[in-house]
Symmetry: C2
Subunit: 438 residues, 2 copies
C-alpha cells in the first residue's frame, strides 16, 4: 500500500506551553502524598542487618549526624534489647539533640517495650508478623493474641507520652481482612502511624497502590511503608505508596538491609525530585547524598554500585553521538535529573566509536582549535575508525584532532584553556573503586 494514502496527518504541538509538571503526581490522586512525604531512615536499624554491617558507637553517631544534616524526618535505631551495646548506643544518639526524631524498633512485646521507653527515644516502632508463614514458623501466635499484645504495648508506650507506630510484617502475604481489622483496632486506640511492610520483597506497584488506598479508607492515622528490594521494585513501590496516600517511607543509605536491602535514600530522592522538585529541594540537602553514601559504603566495606542512581560513576555520562548532539543543545533532551542539584557534573563521552561530530566539535572548541564543520566531520571519521580497532581515551582523540589541525596549518586563535568544563570525557570521572577503561 502507498505511504501517502495511508498515514494520517498528525497534529503539531511542539511549541505548546507546558502548564503542569508532566512527571508529577496524577492530579486525580487526591490522597497523594507525593508532595508531602516524610523519610524514616533506618540505616542504623535495617542497615545493621546488612551482612557486612558493624557500626561502633562513634560510627553510628557520625551517620546519625549526617542523616540529620541531610534532613531526614526520623532516624530509626536497632532495638535496645538486641544487645547491651545497642541499648547504650540508642541512649547516646537520643542525647545528641538532633532535629530528626529518634525511633527504636522492637518486637510487639512488653519486655521490649519497657526497655525501649527508657532509652530517651521520641517514638517506638512496633512490628509483628501477620502472614501465615510468620505466624506458623516465627512466633506461633494467632491474630487474637497479636491484637491483644499490640493493644497492651501501644497503650503502655502512649502512657509514656512518646510516638507509637504499629506495623504488620510481611503485609502482602497476610490475610486482608485480618490486616484491616488489626489496623482499625490500633488506629482507634490512637497510634501515630500504621506500617505496611513488604518484608520479603514480593510486592509490585499496583498491589501496593491498592493496599494503601484500601487501608487509607480504614484508618485516620498516617501510613508508613517499608519495601524490600529482592525483586527490584523498592523505589517504585515507595513512590506508588505515596500516590495511594502513604505519608512516610522507610529508607536506608544505599538501601542496605537484610538480603539485598530496602528502598535506598538516594534512589528515592531521584524518583521524588522529578515528581515534587520544590518540596524535595527545599527540604533535603541533596548535594550531601554523595558524602553520606561514601560514609556508609566505607563503613560497611562495599563499593557504590556502578549503576547507582545519582552517584553511580556514569549516572550523568552521555555516550552515543545522537545523545551527545542533543545534550549539547539542551540537557533536558536526555536528562530528567539535573546533576547540579546533587553537586554532580555532566559528562559527554566522546572518545569512542559511537561518537558523533557534534561531540567532537565540542571537544575541538574546548581545545580552542579552529575547524569548520566540514573539517570536524572529517576528523570524526578518523576518530571513529580508530575507535573501531580499540578503546580510545582522551589523549587518543586529542592527538588525532591536533594532528589533523596541524596538517591544515590553521593558527590557534587564543591561548589554550586547559581547564576542562563539565563536558569532559567520563574516564576522568570514574569512581576510584571502579576500574576505568584501559
Amino acid at each position: 500500500m502507498s505511504a501517502n494514502n495511508e498515514f494520517q496527518s498528525v497534529t503539531e504541538s511542539a511549541t505548546a506551553p507546558t502548564t503542569s509538571n508532566p512527571y508529577g503526581p496524577n492530579p486525580a490522586d487526591y490522597l497523594s502524598n507525593v508532595k508531602n512525604f516524610q523519610l524514616i531512615d533506618s540505616t542504623l536499624r535495617e542497615g545493621e542487618q546488612f551482612a557486612n554491617s558493624f557500626f561502633d558507637t562513634e560510627k553510628k553517631i557520625e551517620i546519625a549526624r549526617a542523616l540529620d544534616d541531610f534532613g531526614v524526618d526520623y532516624i530509626e535505631l536497632t532495638s535496645p534489647v538486641a544487645s547491651e551495646q545497642s541499648k547504650k548506643d540508642c541512649e547516646a544518639i537520643c542525647k545528641l539533640g538532633l532535629k530528626a526524631k529518634i525511633l527504636t524498633h522492637i518486637r510487639c512485646h512488653m519486655d521490649d517495650a519497657r526497655v525501649a521507653v527508657e532509652t530517651g527515644v521520641d517514638g517506638v516502632d512496633v512490628v509483628i508478623g501477620t502472614s501465615k508463614f510468620l505466624r506458623q514458623y516465627s512466633h506461633g501466635k494467632d491474630m487474637n493474641y497479636i491484637a491483644k499484645s499490640a493493644v497492651e504495648v501501644i497503650e503502655f508506650v502512649k502512657s509514656k507520652g512518646i510516638e507509637i507506630r504499629f506495623s504488620s510484617e510481611d503485609s502482602f502475604r497476610s490475610d486482608l481482612v485480618d490486616l484491616l481489622n488489626i489496623y482499625k483496632t490500633v488506629d482507634k486506640i490512637g497510634v501515630n502511624r500504621v506500617g505496611i511492610a513488604d518484608t520479603v520483597g514480593c510486592a509490585n506497584p499496583r498491589q501496593v497502590y491498592e493496599l494503601v488506598r484500601t487501608l487509607k479508607s480504614v484508618v485516620s492515622c498516617d501510613i508508613e511503608c517499608h519495601f524490600h528490594n529482592d525483586t527490584g521494585c523498592a523505589i517504585a513501590n515507595a513512590y506508588t505508596a505515596l500516590e495511594g496516600g502513604a505519608r512516610l517511607i522507610d529508607v536506608s543509605v544505599l538501601g542496605i538491609g537484610e538480603r539485598n536491602g530496602i528502598t535506598p535514600l538516594g534512589g528515592l530522592m531521584a524518583r521524588m525530585i522529578v515528581a515534587a522538585p520544590e518540596y524535595v529541594k527545599s527540604k533535603y540537602k541533596l548535594h550531601k547524598i554523595r558524602d553520606i553514601e561514601n560514609l556508609v559504603a566505607d563503613a560497611v566495606e562495599v563499593n557504590i554500585p556502578f549503576n547507582n542512581p545519582i552517584t553511580g560513576f556514569c549516572a550523568f555520562t552521555h555516550k552515543a553521538g545522537i545523545h551527545a548532539k542533543a545534550i549539547l543543545a539542551n540537557p533536558s533532551t536526555y536528562e530528567i535529573l539535573d546533576p547540579h542539584d546533587f553537586g554532580m557534573k555532566r559528562y559527554i563521552h566522546f572518545a569512542n566509536r559511537l561518537t558523533g561530530w557534534n561531540a567532537i566539535k565540542s571537544r575541538v572548541d574546548q581545545l580552542n582549535l579552529n575547524l569548520t564543520d566540514t573539517q570536524v566531520k572529517e576528523v570524526t571519521v578518523k576518530i571513529k575508525k580508530l575507535g573501531d580497532v580499540r578503546p580510545l581515551n582522551i589523549d587518543d582523540v586529542d592527538s588525532i584532532i591536533k594532528d589533523f589541525h596541524a596538517e591544515l596549518g590553521t593558527p590557534i586563535l587564543k591561548p589554550v584553556n586547559t581547564g576542562l568544563n563539565d563536558l569532559e570525557n567520563s574516564n576522568g570521572h570514574a569512581s576510584k573503586k571502579v576500574k576505568t577503561s584501559k
Copy 2:
C-alpha cells in the same frame, strides 16, 4: 481506655489453603502478558552506549551466544551505520545461526534502513524522537515529517521480508494525541511491533500502565517497552507494562546502557519468577544468570553491585536473629526467591551481635557438638557480648562455642563434618570484588 473493651476480635485464617499465586498477575487484568512475555536483549546495542563498553568482535559473539543459550527471544545490535566494524560485527552475529532472532537498531531514515536490511538481520528496530525536546534539539522535524519518514522506512523494510518495529523516543514526554496518531498509522501499514521508550527514565508505574493500556486499545500489533533507570523504576515499570498488555521488554545484562542504564535482565527475572514461575523457569536458563553477568561485568570492567538482585553477594544472606530462626524453620518465611532456582545458595549470618540462639544452635549442630537449648542460649549471650565489642568472624564464634563445650566436658558424638552446608557465614561467600568484613 482499656485494651479488652476496645480491640475487635479478628478472624483466624492461618491454615486456610492458598488457591492461587498471590504474587501473580491480577486476574482482572485480561490484557496482561505477565505470563506470556518476551525478552529483547540490548546488551550489544544499548549496552554499547554504556560509558565503559568496548566490545570487540570476539566478545560480542561470546555475549550473543551466552544470551542465546540463556533463552532470550531477540538480540538487538548496534546500528551498522555507527561504524564500519559495527556493520561487520552485525553480519558476523547474523551468521552464527542462533535460536534468538537478531535485530539491529537504526534511526528512522532510509540511508540507515538500506544498510540495515543487507546485514542479514531478522528484523529492524526503528526509532525517532517524538517529544518536543527531541524534535526541537535533536532532529528538528515535525510530526508530519516523522510520519512520512516512518511509513517510507517501514514499507521498505517490510518489502525485504523481515520484521519491523517502530518506536517513539522519549514517549512519556511526547504529546499523547501525536503518539497515538503515529502508532495507529504504522500499525495500519503492518509493523510487527510498536515501541514505547522512557528514554530519560522519568516514567512511574501507574503512568506506564495507563499509556500501555491506552495504546493497546489503538493498535493490534505487539507493544514493546524500553525503560531507563535514572529514577530507579526500570524493573517495576517493565512489570507494570506487561500487566497493561505490553508483550516485549528491552533488557541488558546488569542493565548497562546510557547513563545508569535500563531494565536489567537478572533483576527482571527476579521480578517475573515470583509472578509467573512456571513460564519463567521453563523458558529461561536461570542458573546461567550469574555466568552471563560475570562475563559482561568483566568485559566492561565493573563490579557486580553488592545489592544486585539474585547475584549480589548478600541477596540470600539472613542476619537478624528473628529472621534466622524463621528461615531455619521454613525458608519461605523471609524469602520470595528460592536461591536454588538460580544456582545460588542461602546463608545464615550468625557471627554478629544481632544473632539469635536458633542461628547459633544451627551452627552448634554443624560443628556436631551436643548442647541443650539452655546451653545454646548461654553461649549465645557470650557471642553477642563479643559481637558488641568488635566485628566477628566464623572462627570467633566457633572458638567461643568450642571453649564453652570443652568446659562442659560433653563428648563429641561423631566425627566433625568439616564441609559447611548452605547455612554458612556469609563472609565466606562475599564476591572476590567486594571487600569482606575484617
